[in-house]
Each structure stands twice: as C-alpha cells, then as structure tokens.
C-alpha cells in the first residue's frame, strides 16, 4: 500500500484531502503561468525604468508605470538557502516527504521560493548552480522547479 492510502486509513481522509493547492493566476500574473505552461520562465520587466518585479504586480513597484514586457529568463540560478521538510506538512504534501524548499536566486536578479528536485539532499550546498525544470501539475499549470546544473 502506498503512503497516501496508508494515511487515508490512519487519519480517515478522502482523496479530496490530498488535492494540492495550485496557483490561481491574477490579471497581472497570467502571462507568467501561460509561459510556464510552455516551459518558459517569464519575468515582468518595466519598459520605463527597467525594474523586474517578481512576483509581478498590477504596475511597476518602482515607478508605477503600466508599460512592461515579459522577458524570458535564462533558467539559471544559485541556491541561496534551503530547508528539508520532514514532518508536519499539509496532507497533500505528506506523500512527498522529505522534500526540499529553497530560496533560489535567478541570474536576472529576482529571488524565488521553489523545490530543488533530482538531487541527493546530502549534496545541497549554499551557492550551488541550479537550472530550471518544469513540472506539469494540471492542464493549465506547470510549476518551475530547480535541479542541480548538469556538468
């Protein structure tokens, strides 16, 4: 029996308790998620002052301009800091334990929270080079995640 089935029996849960939360795009983040669906990492860049806002907001948080473009990020980043969840997470994530959460610094500047995947947890190291990888989690949503850069 897999972990999920065991938990369902132990805690008297249904399949609905294991549905993972998905991003609900806003007017100003829709392009990011559209890009992610095509496995492209897009960032909202202000055409007036050059500021990149991530998360994106309604208008530029530096100069209040509406004029912007979506640039494709390189998909290269560095691991700034990390945690490994081992216990005490919401039900939908229990079957994934243990998993890594990280502060990831993109080459283009923004910092993101994401998972580091395809990685021996013992080899995680502050400053290690990462590359983006997309996980298709629903028809509409793909989540950008990160894995150690292939040598």
């Amino acid at each position: 029996m897999d972990i999920k089935e065991k938990l369902k029996q132990q805690l008297n849960l249904s399949d609905a308790d294991f549905i993972k939360p998905l991003p609900v795009p806003t007017k100003w983040s829709q392009r990011f998620w559209d890009g992610a669906k095509q496995h492209k990492l897009l960032l909202k860049k202000c055409k007036t002052c050059g500021n990149i806002d991530h998360p994106p907001y309604l208008y530029c948080t530096e100069c209040h301009s509406d004029d912007h473009e979506w640039i494709q990020a390189s998909g290269k980043a560095k691991l700034y800091a990390f945690a490994i969840n081992e216990y005490g997470v919401p039900f939908p994530f229990m079957p994934d334990l243990p998993y890594v959460l990280a502060l990831v610094d993109l080459k283009e500047g923004p910092r993101m929270i994401s998972n580091v995947v395809d990685c021996d947890h013992k080899k995680l190291e502050n400053g290690m080079e990462l590359e983006v990888v997309f996980e298709d989690v629903s028809e509409k949503i793909s989540l950008p995640k990160w894995r150690p850069m292939k040598q």
């Binding site: 998360p55 945690a83 490994i84 969840n85 005490g88 994934d96 959460l101 929270i113 502050n126």
Partner: protein
C-alpha cells in the same frame, strides 16, 4: 530626545496552554478585570477599549468589531472601541492606536486586550493557516511551503553565512525554557530542556527540530495604558514608553529589503539605534532585552541588532548562559513563543506585558533585580516588519 508621553500602569494575564473550555471572551473579560485591579483605577475611567483580532477568525472578532468588550467589562466611560491587527506586530500597532487616542485628548486611559483560543481548530487547519500566514498562496504554497520551512531556510542561511552552530541555535531554546520555568503562566513552566534534548527531538524541517519550532496555544493578556502625566499621578511605578522605531520590509520573504541572511543586523540595527537615540540611552543602559523571536534564529538576528553583542556572535552569547536567569544579559524573560507558548498575535503582547511586569517589579520568580530600562521588539508576517521599543520605570536625563 523625546519627552515620554505614555505609560503602562497595570497588566493582567491568564495561563498559556491548551484550554479548549476557556473561551476567548472569558480570557478577555478575565484579563481586563485583572489589569484594572492591578492598575488600581476605576473601570469607568477607561475611555477606550482596544481588542487584538483573533487569529484564524472566530465569532469573538465580530463581537470585538461591534463593541462587545466595553459592555461586558462595564467600561461605562468608554468613548472609543476598535480592533487592530498586523500579525505578530499587533502588540505594537495596537499600542500605536492607543497612543493616537491618548494623543487626541479624548481620554487619558486606554484598555488593551488580547485573547486567543487555537484549540478550537484542528492541527491540520492550524498548519494550513500558518502556511498561508508566512507564504504566498500563488507563489509558495504550491511547492509545499510551510511556516516551519520558512523559518528553517532562514535558519539554514543564518548559520551558513554567520558560522553559527546548530548547538548555539538550540541554546536559545534552552535559555528561553529556563526563564519559562520561573513563569507560572508559561505553557512549559514545569518542563526542563537541554541542548541535547533539543537536538535529539524529531526533525521537522531541516535544520529545525521539533523543540526549535513553537507550539500554538490558548492564552491572552491585557494592560492599562495612560498618558505619562496620569501615570505619574496614579501609579507608584509606571512603565514609561521612552522611545520607539519601526521598519517594514516585505510580504514575501523573497522580496526582503535585506537579502543577506548573514547581515540582517545591517537592516535592523539602524532601527534599534533610532529607538535608543530617541531616549538618549544606549544598549549599555539596558537591564533586560525582551526579544520576540518566534523561532531561535530570529532571536539571534534581533540580538545581533540590539547593540549588546557583536553581530553574528549572538549564538555564542546564548551558548554561554549569559542570557538565562542570573546572566549578565537577561533575554526574553517569559520564554516567548518557544516556551511560554505561541498565542498568535499574542506572542508580542506576552513579551510586552512581561516587560511591564519587570519594570513594575511584579515579575515574581523571574524578576531581574531592580531593572530601570529595557528594549523590546516585535514583528509579524514572514518577518515583514520590526518594531523596537525602549521602556523604563524612570524618565532618563
């Protein structure tokens, strides 16, 4: 240097722990009466009643919004009632609200109340709520983010970039516990704790073990705040608000103004200095350091900024035992979220009320001998803001 305008003249507090049968209303009414009695004033002198918002909702909030508290307490002279919240920074923002009311001249006496009963919610409801309190629904939660993971990655970064050891992080929990052992209202009043026990407890979110994570609990407190002028008149030993300073940084930790977890003191220390400067006092004048950390790494970051220890060396200071009872730098004398108990926005209220008790000489077994001045802090969200307050039982200069 500012002339002190406000003071606290009395406090009330109920035991913190799991008390499902003690409603938020009972906590509020009980602590209010205790604070009024402790202050030695007539209840009808109270011109404003402020309630902190109950975290995770409850009918209590509706009742606070619509004026239940003054009626139930019998505050017949009440002119203003309101609810205030800014997460863990609420103890500060509600005090700012009280200051505004006192400053307006409408009344010279304000009653502030905090009450929380987490035990009405299931563990899973609590975990879900706090994941959203520290993280973003759209950008973080789909990755399985939790509040403990947020604290864990910040701990990991703080350790990696300052050279602080996990034993030093654990020693914060031990220092807090030693204070809580002297506090009858603390959740873990009767339980001792060693560094070894902290390190051997269950791994929750590496590098945080279970004893490095706080425990949600039921509790509350209240206090009476007046103008400094009235305090001098009616109270033998008021706790004056001498100087304050604040900063806001971010909602999402990814957008923190200071991005270097090893140098957060460079962001916080100027704010602490501003608070000191507004009083003409410095860290060397402080008898107690009342730190709102919630997690041990944040206690260290705040200590790094308060000016009594070299930044990045707070871990060594806690390890030395000098922050525990009897030490040279008494820190967080109620044991705070980790050992007193995490009552939502109430962690800051608890630390603040304990600061008042220390200055009034009413801290019982935890009393630091004859303190004159102390520094206190609080902040909320995903470490979104910080507020430093210098308090004293005399007016410097």
């Amino acid at each position: 240097m500012n002339k002190p305008e406000f003071a606290i003249i009395g406090t009330g507090e109920v035991p913190c722990g799991i008390y499902p049968d003690r409603s938020e209303f009972e906590i509020a009414y009980t602590t209010a009466r205790m604070a009024i009695q402790d202050a030695g004033i007539d209840k009808n002198e109270i011109g404003a009643v402020l309630g902190a918002v109950h975290i995770m909702g409850s009918e209590y909030n509706t009742e606070v919004f619509f004026g239940r508290l003054p009626e139930a307490i019998g505050a017949k002279g009440c002119k203003i009632t309101a609810a205030t919240v800014s997460g863990g920074g609420s103890s500060f923002s509600i005090r700012k609200t009280a200051e505004g009311i006192l400053h307006s001249g409408e009344t010279d006496t304000v009653l502030v109340i905090h009450a929380q009963r987490f035990s009405q919610f299931s563990a899973n409801e609590q975990a879900k709520y706090f994941a959203a309190a520290g993280s973003d629904l759209e950008w973080d939660l789909p990755y399985g983010m939790t509040y403990n993971a947020l604290a864990a990655m910040m701990t990991q970064g703080y350790m990696a970039y300052t050279g602080t050891t996990i034993e030093q992080v654990a020693s914060v929990c031990v220092s807090h516990r030693k204070w809580a052992n002297l506090q009858p209202n603390a959740m873990f009043h009767k339980k001792s704790l060693t560094v070894e026990q902290v390190l051997k407890s269950r791994m929750v979110a590496y590098p945080l073990t279970a004893f490095m994570c706080n425990v949600l609990a039921d509790g509350g407190c209240a206090y009476i705040m007046t103008t400094a002028e009235k305090a001098k008149r009616v109270c033998r030993k008021p706790a004056y608000i001498l100087g304050e300073a604040s900063i806001y940084s971010h909602r999402s930790i990814t957008n923190a103004v200071c991005r270097d977890l090893g140098k957060m003191h460079e962001f916080y220390a100027p704010i602490a200095r501003k608070a000191y400067e507004r009083t003409g006092l410095g860290p060397e004048d402080m008898d107690i350091f009342e730190i709102y950390g919630a997690y041990p790494f944040f206690t260290l970051m705040v200590a790094d900024a308060m000016g009594f220890v070299e930044p990045g060396r707070s871990g060594a200071l806690f390890e030395s035992g000098e922050t525990a009872p009897g030490g040279r730098y008494p820190c967080t004398t109620n044991g705070e979220a980790l050992s007193f108990g995490h009552t939502g926005t109430g962690v800051g209220f608890g630390v603040f009320v304990e600061a008042v008790r220390q200055l009034q000489g009413k801290a019982g077994k935890a009393q630091v001998p004859d303190p004159k001045f102390l520094i206190e802090d609080c902040g909320g969200g995903a470490f979104m803001d910080i507020h430093f307050t210098i308090m004293g039982n005399e007016i410097p200069g």
